[in-house]
């Protein structure tokens, strides 16, 4: 179900970057409602932390990024590591690269690395996606 020709992809092929609209508190609240994760850390902050975006909100952004490129049905594994908090106002950029390409008896695969950074190029999330093309 991939949206590209596997033969044209090589290790190092970049996935077109995506610049998100500025993160807002409203978006965090919408995501809380959608996900069911109403942890106060996200919707209002705690005595220790100001409100920050859910890690899974960034994961969903990265998920849609790879979905737009490869098709949701191509993704077999997806692992997101949350590196630093993203607060309202953050300008997030999503970038990805093909790190590995191989074929075995079960099919054709790509492993991609995806990173989300803010306007200061601080890494907010890094992810690894395994695609079966």
């Amino acid at each position: 179900m991939a949206l590209f020709d596997f033969e044209t992809i090589t290790v190092g092929t970049p996935i077109p970057p995506l610049i998100k609209q500025p993160l807002t508190m409203l978006q965090i609240i919408k995501y809380a409602g959608a996900s069911g994760d109403f942890n106060p850390l996200h919707v209002m902050g705690t005595k220790h932390f100001p409100p920050i975006a859910h890690g899974t909100l960034l994961a969903e952004m990265a998920g849609q990024y790879i979905t737009n490129w490869a098709g949701v049905g191509s993704v077999k594994k997806f692992r997101a590591d949350f590196k630093s908090p993203a607060e309202p106002g953050a300008l997030l950029t999503i970038k990805g690269t093909v790190k590995r390409k191989y074929t075995d008896e079960t099919g054709r695969y790509l492993i991609c690395r995806i990173i989300i950074t803010d306007e200061n190029e601080v890494v907010k999330m890094s992810a690894r996606a395994t695609l079966n093309v």
């Binding site: 179900m1 998100k20 609209q21 978006q27 919408k30 995501y31 409602g33 959608a34 996900s35 069911g36 994760d37 942890n39 106060p40 850390l41 705690t46 005595k47 220790h48 932390f49 859910h54 890690g55 899974t56 909100l57 994961a59 969903e60 952004m61 998920g63 849609q64 790879i66 979905t67 737009n68 098709g71 949701v72 049905g73 993704v75 077999k76 594994k77 997806f78 692992r79 997101a80 590591d81 949350f82």
Partner: protein, 146 residues
Amino acid sequence: MLDQSYEGREFTPFQCEVDRCKIKELSLAAGEHNPVFTDRQLAREQGYKDTPAPLTFATVMLFWGYPVIWDRLTEMGFDLSKMLHTREDYEYIDPIYPGDRLEGRGGVESVTVNSLAQIAVFKCTFYREEKPVLICRLTMMVAEGV
């Protein structure tokens, strides 16, 4: 301190019916508008049976399907005001579609407590008609020094 006796403990299975509106809501909340998540005809043209669930839909099913997870986290020693979500891990076996009736089965896969960190990994497998379709793992960590 996290209670290490929770390692291996399984939680009560829960039922979840996949809602078309929730797929749209999750997609829009993340700020994207890929029509595969809302346009049935387009989805079928791309080879899906219906509008497929986005890649992190397990989060929706887990928190809305098993809201007492917060009680479990607190019981095992997490202070929710100092809990960090550090990793989310998904394995996709088969696409998930609106109307799917799934059962989530899982629990605490591991609890690690040492001088460096306190970390718990939760695993949940979603079944459709007794066949696994999605596996997710959440890694939560106590924020030290707070």
